[in-house]
């Protein structure tokens, strides 16, 4: 068993990192904040997949690599595997986590929320959630890129608390 820290360390760090980029640095430029948060995730994913594949033979195809992300990689990060994997066999994979840890623990500052009218408030919640998701999307993209698979990753949360990550491999 490797070294561990309290989960609240990671939660606090992520919340603060996202808020630093969204509220302090790029308050009026969400697309720039998103790009920075994704870039941080990318670095983390790249380094983690390097560490977790050191003693493994090379993956023979894309599906093998994706399965590694769904099983071993996800288990290291979240102590569970991806629950469902779908593919169209043309380079798009959908990885669904039925209870994505980083979403179940997310909360919205009630003070800010109550100041808004409800529609605006809901909008803010959606925006804050999507900002948080750029980080895991970056992690997946970084991990696959380290395995020699360039791709684009987006997240779909129409089914909360389930979260689907859509991986589109670049031909």
């Amino acid at each position: 068993m490797g070294r561990e820290v309290a989960e609240s360390c990671v939660d606090s760090l992520l919340t603060e990192m996202v808020s630093t980029y969204c509220h302090r640095f790029y308050a009026n430029k969400p697309e720039l904040a998103a790009r920075r948060i994704e870039a941080i995730g990318y670095q983390v994913g790249h380094q983690l997949s390097e560490r977790y594949t050191m003693e493994r033979p090379r993956f023979t195809d894309h599906l093998e690599a994706i399965k590694f992300i769904c099983k071993d990689f996800w288990s290291e990060l979240f102590k569970k595997q991806i629950d469902n994997l779908k593919t169209n066999h043309r380079g798009t994979f959908v990885l669904q986590d039925n209870r994505f840890r980083w979403l179940t623990r997310m909360s919205v500052d009630p003070q800010n929320e109550s100041q808004d009218n409800s529609a605006d408030g809901e909008n803010k919640v959606a925006q804050a959630t999507s900002m948080h998701l750029y980080f895991p999307c970056g992690i997946i993209r970084g991990a696959l890129s380290n395995l020699g698979i360039p791709c684009a990753v987006s997240a779909d949360i129409s089914n909360l608390p389930a979260c689907s990550f859509v991986v589109r491999i670049k031909a």
């Binding site: 820290v5 609240s8 603060e16 670095q43 380094q47 983690l48 102590k79």
Partner: protein
Amino acid sequence: MPTAGPRSGDAIFASVERVNAELFTLTYGATVRQLLTDLEEVEEVNKQLDQMGYNIGIRLIDEFLAKSNISRCVDFKETADVIAKVGLKMFLGVNATVTNWDAEGTCCSIVLEDNPLVDFVELPDTCQGLHYCNILSGVIRGALEMVSMKTEVTWLRDMLRGDDSFELQVKLLKQVPEEYPYKDDE
């Protein structure tokens, strides 16, 4: 009903949800690296890390108080001990010691021999002025401010700069007496 006393840092750490420290260490490292790219000035990065830590500290104190079951510390000495023995242990899983007290009992050092923030980290020459762990000093400052203690927290020794341990000086500037809008016996 028996009243539960304060719990040891080890016992709390054993009972909380824990995660793989690599994820934490690498996420922090990637954040510092991104800040260095975006802010360019090392001094500015130090300031941001401290601010991030402060923001975390003012929230984390609630979790600390809830899980540690610690009631009011009688003095700053006890406070420093609690940070070293309970606080750092229950979140980061590390042991720390308190030394170098001044005569007034308002300034001391917290010494860490081990620190998960810096696993796999080596600073390039261009980052010499960087206080890589500045988030940690910010957390302590923020948390103490929530329990009415204004402090100044500075790094005296840093293993990333070649020292044999991390030494964090905590200086009590002002203790704001807590004022309640009501009396205890009402």
